[in-house]
C-alpha cells in the first residue's frame, strides 16, 4: 500500500532540527511523562502564577453579588406591591370591590368611589390611541418602506428626541398653547360641525377630556411608531421580495409581505402605547380639569386615576382618604403590569432574535 508523500522540503532555516523523515519512533512515548531536558527551576513568572491561586472564592463572591443585583429587581416589584396592598387595606375593607363601581368621590363625607377616574382614564387613553395609532402607523410605514435613505436618520432621531421630552414640559406647552387653541379655535369648530353627535356640548374652557386626549396622543405617538418600526424591520427581506416577485405594487407588498407578518407585534406596540397612556400623569393633570365627572361631552372636565393621586395625595387628610388613593394606585399598578406584560409578550414573539432597543 503506497501512499503519496505529503512531506515537503522546508527552506533551510534554523540548524539542528530534524526533518520530518527522521522523526523519533513511537517508542519514545515511554518518556512522555517526564520532561526530556534538564530540570530547570520554575521561572519567577511560573512561581508567581502558581502562588496566585485560582480565585475561586472571589469568583463565587462576585457571582453572588451580581445575582443579588438581579434579584433586587424582584425585590423592588415585590416591595411596591406589598406596600400598596398594606396601605390600601383600610379602603379595601371599607368599600371592597364596589370601590371601582361607585362614582361618588366626596372626601368630606368619606365616600369614595373610583368609577369617574376609570372612565376618565379609559376615555382619554382610548381616544388618544384612536388618534395616535393611525398616524404612528403612517409614520412607521413611511420611515421603513418609503422614506429616502438620507432622511431616515434625521426623522427617526427627531421622533426619539420627542419621546424623551418630559411629561411636565409637554404639560406646560399644553396649558399655554393647546388650551387656548382648544378654547378659541378648535373647540368652536368641532361644536359647530360635529355638535350633532353629542360629544361636543357644553361650555368649552379649553381644558377637558379632549385636550387631555390630544396631548396624550402626541406623547404616545413616538413610542408606538418606533416599536412598530422595529417590528417591521424584523420582518425578513425575503418576505418582501417574494411578494414583489409576484408583481405586487409597493403598498400591496407592504400590506401582505410586511404588515401581515408583523400583525401580532403591531398589536403589541399599540398595547404598549396604551400602557403608557394609562399611567401618564403630569401632562394630563395639567389639562384635564380635575373634576370627577362622567359625561358624554369631550369638552367636559374629567379626572384620571393617575391625576387624582397627583392632585389630592398630599392634601389627603385622614386615613381613609389616603387609603382610597393608594387603592387607586394599586389598581393602576396591577392594570399597567398586565397590559405591559401582554404587550411585551406580543412584541417579543415577533422580534425574537433580533437585537432590541430600549424603549
Amino acid at each position: 500500500m503506497t501512499t503519496q508523500r505529503m512531506t515537503t522540503e522546508r527552506e533551510p532555516n534554523p540548524p539542528a532540527r530534524s526533518t520530518p523523515l527522521s522523526v523519533p519512533a513511537v517508542t519514545n512515548f515511554v518518556a512522555a511523562s517526564e520532561p526530556s531536558g534538564p530540570e530547570l527551576a520554575p521561572s519567577p513568572i511560573r512561581g508567581f502564577l502558581r502562588s496566585r491561586g485560582s480565585g475561586a472564592m472571589a469568583d463565587r463572591t462576585f457571582a453572588g453579588l451580581m445575582l443579588l443585583c438581579a434579584l433586587s429587581i424582584f425585590a423592588i416589584v415585590a416591595f411596591i406591591l406589598t406596600i400598596l396592598i398594606l396601605r390600601s387595606k383600610l379602603s379595601l375593607a371599607q368599600f371592597g370591590f364596589h370601590f371601582f363601581l361607585r362614582s361618588d368621590w366626596d372626601p368630606v363625607s368619606g365616600e369614595f368611589g373610583a368609577l369617574p377616574f376609570i372612565f376618565g382614564t379609559l376615555a382619554t387613553s382610548l381616544l388618544a390611541l384612536a388618534m395616535a395609532v393611525p398616524l404612528a402607523m403612517g409614520v412607521a410605514v413611511f420611515l421603513t418602506e418609503l422614506c429616502p435613505q438620507k432622511l431616515r436618520a434625521p426623522i427617526s432621531f427627531l421622533t426619539e428626541l420627542l419621546a424623551a421630552i418630559p411629561s411636565v414640559v409637554y404639560g406646560l406647552w399644553a396649558v399655554f398653547v393647546l388650551v387656548p387653541i382648544m378654547r378659541d379655535s378648535l373647540g368652536p369648530f368641532l361644536s359647530k360641525y360635529l355638535g350633532w353627535t353629542g360629544f361636543f356640548e357644553g361650555y368649552n374652557f379649553g381644558v377637558g377630556l379632549l385636550t387631555a386626549s390630544i396631548i396624550l396622543a402626541i406623547m404616545i405617538l413616538p413610542i408606538i411608531s418606533s416599536i412598530t418600526r422595529d417590528i417591521m424591520l424584523a420582518v425578513p427581506n425575503s418576505q418582501r421580495e417574494a411578494v414583489l416577485a409576484l408583481g405586487a405594487t409597493r403598498w400591496e407588498m407592504i400590506r401582505t409581505g410586511v404588515l401581515r407578518n408583523a400583525r401580532i407585534g403591531i398589536v403589541g406596540a399599540v398595547i404598549l402605547g396604551l400602557g403608557r397612556a394609562l399611567g401618564e400623569t403630569m401632562a394630563v393633570t395639567m389639562v384635564i380639569g380635575n373634576h370627577p365627572d362622567i359625561s358624554k361631552s369631550l369638552f367636559a372636565p374629567g379626572y384620571t386615576l393617575a391625576s387624582v393621586i397627583a392632585n389630592e395625595f398630599s392634601e389627603a387628610t385622614g386615613n381613609l382618604y389616603t387609603s382610597a388613593l393608594i387603592e387607586i394606585g394599586l389598581a393602576l399598578f396591577l392594570v399597567t403590569i398586565v397590559v405591559n406584560a401582554i404587550a411585551r409578550a406580543l412584541v417579543w414573539a415577533v422580534t425574537r432574535g433580533t437585537p432590541a432597543r430600549v424603549h
Partner: protein, 310 residues
C-alpha cells in the same frame, strides 16, 4: 402537456376547459390602474401622516426653545425664587436640588442596574431565572412613575417627613430597569472570542468580566446610564410625594428639597406670569440636557462599541 396557465388546451383530455387569462384585457388594465392608484394613495397618506406628525412636533420643540430662551437670564441660574409677585428670581435651588436627588439616585440605581445587567449577560445565559429577571425588569419599566412615588412615600416618608433621600430612592427604582437592559445588550456585543482569550490565559472569571467584558462594553454602558439619567431627570410624579419641593436653599438629604421638574410644575399651574416665565426657562434647561444625552447616545450607537476594531 404545458403547465403554462396562459396556454390551456381545450377539453378532450379530461381537463376542464378554462378561459385563459388575457393580460391585455380591459379588466386587467382597469384593475392594474386601480391598484396603482391605491398604491399612490397609500404612499400619499403615509407621507401626509408623517408630515402631520413631524411638523407639529417640531413646532412644539421650536416653541419651547424660543419661549425658554427668551425667559432665560443669568438670574435664573443664580437666584432662588423671589417672593410671590416680585419680579426676578431664579431656579438655582431647584437645579442644585435636582442634582442632589439625581446623585443619590445614581449612586443607588447605577450599580444595581449594571450588576443585574452583568448577571444577565455573563452568568445567567440560558437560565430560566434570567428570563424571569428580564421580564420583571420590563414590567418595572412600565409601572407608572406616580405609583413608584407613592410606594416610596409609604416606605420612607410616612411617619417621618419628605426628604431628598426618598426622592433619590424613587428615581433610582426608575433607573434600574433601563440600565439593566442596556448593560445586558452592550455586554452581548462583546465578542465571545476575547472572553475566551482571557479565560484561556488563566484569568479567573470575575477578573475577565471586569477587565475584559465590562471594559470593552464600557462606552455603551456609560451612554446607557446617561440615557437613564436624562430620563429620570425630567420625572415629576415620583418626586411629588418624596422630595416634595422647597422654595429655599436646602442641601440636606433628610429634608424636602427643590427639584427642577417639580418647580416647573408648581409654577406652570400657578397664576403668576413671572412664575410662568421661570417655568419656560426651566423647561429649556431640561430639554437641552435631554437633547444632549439623546444625541450622544445616537453618536455612540452609530460609531459602534469597540474601540480600535477595524
Amino acid at each position: 402537456m404545458s403547465t403554462n396557465p396562459f396556454h390551456v388546451p381545450p377539453g378532450g383530455d379530461g381537463t376542464p376547459a378554462r378561459a385563459p387569462i388575457n393580460m391585455r384585457s380591459r379588466w386587467m388594465r382597469i384593475n392594474s390602474a386601480r391598484r396603482y392608484a391605491v398604491n399612490h394613495l397609500i404612499s400619499g397618506l403615509a407621507l401626509l401622516s408623517t408630515i402631520l406628525v413631524i411638523v407639529p412636533l417640531v413646532a412644539i420643540l421650536v416653541y419651547l426653545l424660543y419661549k425658554g430662551a427668551s425667559s432665560l437670564n443669568l438670574a435664573f441660574f443664580t437666584h432662588i425664587p423671589a417672593p410671590v409677585g416680585e419680579p426676578g428670581g431664579g431656579m438655582a435651588n431647584a437645579m442644585v436640588g435636582s442634582g442632589i436627588v439625581l446623585l443619590v439616585a445614581s449612586l443607588m440605581g447605577i450599580p444595581v442596574g449594571i450588576g443585574a445587567g452583568v448577571y444577565l449577560a455573563e452568568f445567567g445565559r440560558g437560565k430560566a431565572l434570567a428570563s424571569a429577571v428580564r421580564f420583571t425588569a420590563d414590567v418595572l419599566n412600565g409601572v407608572p412613575s406616580i405609583v413608584v412615588g407613592i410606594a416610596v412615600f409609604g416606605l420612607l416618608v410616612e411617619g417621618r417627613h419628605y426628604s431628598a433621600f426618598a426622592g433619590g430612592v424613587a428615581l433610582a427604582i426608575m433607573m434600574v430597569p433601563t440600565i439593566t437592559r442596556t448593560t445586558e445588550e452592550m455586554l452581548a456585543t462583546v465578542p465571545h472570542a476575547i472572553r475566551e482569550a482571557a479565560l484561556g490565559l488563566g484569568v479567573p472569571k470575575w477578573r475577565t468580566v471586569l477587565s475584559v467584558s465590562l471594559k470593552t462594553a464600557s462606552p455603551g454602558i456609560i451612554t446607557g446610564c446617561m440615557l437613564a439619567f436624562a430620563r429620570v431627570a425630567g420625572e415629576t410624579a415620583p418626586l411629588l410625594f418624596t422630595a416634595f419641593g422647597n422654595q429655599f436653599w436646602s442641601l440636606s438629604l433628610t429634608q424636602p428639597i427643590a427639584a427642577l421638574p417639580l418647580q416647573i410644575y408648581a409654577y406652570a399651574i400657578s397664576p403668576y406670569d413671572e412664575w410662568h416665565r421661570l417655568a419656560w426657562a426651566g423647561s429649556l434647561v431640561l430639554i437641552v440636557m435631554i437633547m444632549v444625552s439623546v444625541t450622544l447616545v445616537r453618536i455612540y450607537a452609530s460609531r459602534g462599541m469597540l474601540k480600535g476594531a477595524s
